[in-house]
Amino acid sequence: MNPRIGELVFLEQLAHRYKLPVPEFLAEPVSQSLLKEKLEKWGSGIIKPDVLTGKRGKAGSILKVGKVLDALKAMREVAAASINGLQPRSAYIVQCVPADYEIYTSISYNSHTLSPAFTVSLKGGMDVEAISDKDKVTVPLNVFQGLNAYQASEALNKLGLTGKLNSRLSLAFVNLWDMFISTGMLSCEINPWRVTKAGQVFACDFKATFDENNFKTKDLGLKWPEYPTTESDFEAEMKAWAASSHQGQAHVSSLGGKRILPLLFGGGAGTIITETLTMLGGDPIFLSDFGGNPPYERMKKTAAICFDHHLHKCELLLILGGKANNTLIDLTFAAIADALQECVDAKGPVDIPVIIGRGGAHLVQGFEVMKKTLDNLHLPYVIFGPDTPITLVADYAASVLKRRKKQAQGGRV
């Protein structure tokens, strides 16, 4: 999972490293006396929640305060209020910066130019999607050379911003690039930069995503914030397990479903099958991708975690993938079958249908080992080969599930 940060971590740990001008701020725990001193200096402050979601203002979580008691109360309230279902890590207060200009900037890798690209607009404070093309300039960057002051200045010139402010902002933008490239970021956005009447520039909101595959991110020495999460024990365990090795995939993303336990193979197949199940009311517990030719031990532990958390609660086990290019079916199925047997041995029998569809190397041996285990466990099953499309198998699984639900409700079958 690519790490993400918001404004507070930027203010605390990154801005000063790269000489990016930011407003003063205070983060919890805040003493009343210090807060009073700052508010007297600033005139007023802005309370913000430290949470990884946009539209905090629209959610009513960004509050302007002038008095200490109001500020303390607001910080408590803002920290406690969830936004878009996410609980803030804390609240913080930043110096209120009166501005003439609000400027938008971002740097990210661009799928059109296949390089990093810098985007700037004088219509800051708005969602970038809402800014018209004529009001923003995107500069494709040479990944080795990055953004230089001349390029930044040219972009501002195109938008009609010249003079001293152009120069001051251009230098800040170069520092922004330095931060982007030397920390292994995938994208970063400052929206807005606020420019005072006196021509001072402040980076006033920030978000960034780092590339977990980039060694710079790994070696950054940044104290990654722990944001409150709604992640289940299962997701946390799978995430840690997935991160422990690159041999084979162990990717899951929770869907909130309860009924189908889907062990799926392939990034594309996993997406397509999950989509089909979701459309047809299959209620899958999660989206998964366990392809990439995992070794036996890797596959077995992956399956064991899934079974440990969900086998005795789900209503149907679906093991489904397309026609594998790399993944050995006998090996992966033996691992799943062994994990299944062990889970049943440890936690007791289950009575759920098992629907399987797969293709690839050593398929017959894989089906055989799976059949043996399912026979041992007296589980009903249907096994499809690669000649049946995965979406039809998913459709069949969802239909069987619907019938079982009707039966459970005493309906006519």
Partner: protein, 691 residues
């Protein structure tokens, strides 16, 4: 892109070099590729130079320390023009730089298979390759298949590329490697073969954008239609469609876009680049872009007529809403645009279950869901049959068994064996029946099995005081041991040669009978053709014996034939085996394994493999009885093979330990202390004094 045509990406005659070729995946894939299309000229891996990767039935692959060494070692006409990178993520940058440095002017395309390459590195690779006039595909591509030329690079097509990729007129461009293979096999149901299969990868940056691939496909004369599998993330489709519109693209597209269900939810899809990150990057946006380009709504399988008419009018193709919709849509599109099938559709696209066991659930499901086994296509059918026939017994998952037992239990009130109350067993069944229950986990199926088993126990009690196991009991008594030690001595003196040969016999019989389809060992009518089985085995044994004789070696001994005592006659019998055989005859029972043994010893004599008919000994009889009892449980996979192998040995040991007890009691009563000691004068000392 430097390639001017799709064949510029890969064609017959291209020479491929593989980085990190000794890696787990690279080596496996390279061997299959070499067998399929013989296009790998070498590979490199750090400190592995000088090795060779053997390719059985193909050309072995040489391994070099680095790419430079590979380029220097190969003559110019054999130097690679394609490179495939399987290096670990952190080594990809360095390896591609090395390819650029030493392959400039020779290498045309670099395929990066590696996953988890940093996006910054990916962007740098693109920059470097552009400067060097090389094309780069990936990262995280699965490779490319040129089905017309029957060549591939990477793992496209898995271990049987020819199975999915029948040459034809469709070019597949897919964000998923698996979908290239999967869609290629589905299209066979529409009578559509494949020109090219291209896995672009779906990292955040796709270095061969769709626009450029479509431009090449548009120029490819063999491509009649293009099938796209698209995921969210990136503006590749927007860029591609702008290109198609401005360049009057004439080839029809069939498009499937996945991932719409995840929009607005915090769901991460399987591929790193499948992330919505702005306008025109979501699945819904991409669907809309394609629908706008086609000018017609997505394919409705319920209204093919309308779809046919609309496609004929727009000529641009159509989007499908489901993956399996690709097949009817392809058929309709080909009809609408008069595109000929490449071959007769191979099979209908429908639910075709290979293996079904729904049990009681079948009765509760409606007819359309209570599926029956369908037709397994070749070659899977033949493989499946031989596999199913050959497999016997339950597979068991191992676990820590400390303090745990399937066999015994005691709830504080009732001791049980496999769930059966011991007090109840004590009052209603014999010891032999209880032992069978304890060893098989289920009561014996027939009363006569208990009687035969009891005979086997009795037969094992003794074969005279000269047997090693009896000697052991006597030695122990002579040394003044307690009875338990004497019994241990008896057990310690039996092994695979004395008493335990039944274990070997069980393996021998299982190996011969497991592929015969035998289900009931007591039914003579359903027995396999024993003459054929015996004849085949003896022929093979004779051939091996003669060959070994010439070579001065020996073949394995057939287990449980012959006996050191019962060996005097032309045709020999073990009297204990005779009792078992007589019981069977008297009670009109049949045991296929014992019948086999009798035929085997006769055939060995008749064919001159042995000079006389060896006795089918008591261990064989024990084995045949035990295997008769256990075989149905093996076939129904209620017990594991290893348990069955141990049954004859256990039977012998149980009987013989009783005999050991008899020897102990006798010797203890009548013997004198130390009387088993061999007098010094009867001993031979085979080493001279050396001091």
């Amino acid at each position: 892109m430097n390639a001017a045509t799709l064949s510029g990406l890969l064609k017959k005659g291209d020479r491929v070099a593989v980085s990190n070729i000794t890696g787990r995946e690279a080596e496996k894939v390279s061997v299959i590729s070499q067998l399929y299309c013989d296009n790998i000229v070498g590979g490199w891996a750090l400190a592995k130079g000088g090795q060779t990767i053997p390719v059985a039935g193909g050309k072995d692959i040489r391994v070099f320390n680095d790419f430079e060494a590979l380029m220097k070692a190969l003559p110019e006409k054999e130097r690679p023009n394609k490179v495939i990178v399987y290096s670990p993520p952190d080594a990809v940058y360095g390896d591609v730089k090395e390819v650029i440095q030493h392959g400039r002017g020779a290498v045309e395309t670099v395929y990066v298979i590696t996953e988890h390459v940093a996006v910054e590195v990916t962007a740098k690779l693109k920059h470097l390759c552009d400067d060097a006039n090389m094309d780069i595909v990936g990262c995280n591509t699965l490779g490319v298949m040129n089905a017309r030329d029957k060549v591939r690079i990477g793992a496209v097509g898995g271990d049987a590329p020819a199975e999915s990729f029948i040459p034809g007129g469709a070019t597949i461009i897919s964000n998923s490697g698996n979908m290239v293979n999967t869609i290629a096999s589905y299209l066979q149901s529409a009578g559509l073969g494949i020109a090219y299969g291209i896995a672009t990868g779906k990292d955040p940056l796709i270095l061969t954008p769709l626009k450029e691939l479509l431009a090449l496909a548009g120029k490819d004369r063999g491509t009649k239609l293009i099938v796209l599998y698209i995921e969210p993330g990136g503006t590749y489709e927007r860029d591609a469609l702008q290109y198609l519109k401005t360049h009057r693209f004439t080839k029809p597209l069939l498009v499937y876009v996945s991932g719409a269900f995840a929009e607005g939810k915090n769901i991460s899809l399987g591929h790193a680049g499948a992330v919505v990150d702005g306008a025109c990057t979501s699945s819904t946006d991409k669907m809309r872009l394609f629908d706008d380009y086609f000018g017609i709504p997505p394919f409705d399988p319920g209204d093919e007529k309308s779809a046919r008419r609309k496609i004929a009018r727009s000529k641009r193709g159509i989007r499908v809403a489901t993956l399996h919709g690709l097949v009817p849509a392809a058929r309709v599109l080909m009809e609408a645009l008069s595109i000929a099938q490449d071959f007769k559709p191979l099979r209908p696209l429908a639910l075709n279950p290979w293996l079904v066991e729904l049990g009681p659930l079948a009765r509760r499901l409606p007819k359309e869901l209570a599926l029956k086994p369908g037709t397994i296509p070749s070659p899977y059918k033949e493989l499946m049959l031989s596999q199913l026939k050959a497999e016997l017994g339950r597979s068991v998952a191992r676990q820590s068994m400390r303090g745990a037992s399937h066999a015994s239990s005691n709830d504080g009130v009732t001791p049980r064996i496999y769930g059966y109350s011991l007090p109840a067993l004590m009052s209603r069944c014999s010891f032999s029946r209880a032992v069978l229950l304890a060893w098989l986990g289920a009561p014996p199926a027939h009363d006569f099995e208990v009687e035969l088993f009891e005979m086997c126990l009795t037969a094992s009690i003794t074969n005279g005081p000269g047997t090693i196991s009896a000697q052991a009991a006597k030695l122990s008594a002579s040394a003044g041991n307690e009875p338990n030690t004497a019994l241990m001595a008896t057990l310690g003196a039996i092994g695979l040669v004395h008493g335990g040969n039944g274990k070997e016999a069980a393996r021998f019989l299982v190996k011969l009978f497991k592929g015969t389809g035998l289900t009931d060992p007591y039914d003579r009518k359903k027995a396999p053709d024993l003459d054929k089985l015996v004849g085949g085995y003896v022929s093979d044994y004779k051939r091996r014996k003669e060959a070994s004789k010439v070579a001065g070696g020996s073949v394995e001994k057939i287990p449980c034939l012959g006996h050191p005592v019962f060996n005097k006659d032309a045709v020999n019998y073990d009297p204990r085996e005779r009792v078992v055989n007589k019981y069977l005859e008297d009670n009109r029972r049949y045991n296929v394994f014992l019948d086999f043994y009798h035929r085997l010893t006769r055939e060995l004599t008749a064919r001159g493999v042995t000079g006389k008919s060896h006795a089918v000994n008591v261990d064989a009889a024990l084995t045949c009885v035990c295997l008769g009892i256990a075989w149905p449980l093996l076939v129904s996979r209620q017990i594991a093979l290893e348990r069955v192998y141990n049954l004859p040995f256990l039977t012998f040991a149980l009987g013989r330990v009783a005999g050991g007890g008899a020897e102990y009691l006798d010797h203890h009563e009548y013997g004198t202390d130390m009387d088993m000691r061999t007098p010094n004068g009867e001993c031979r000392f085979l080493t001279r004094p050396k001091d």
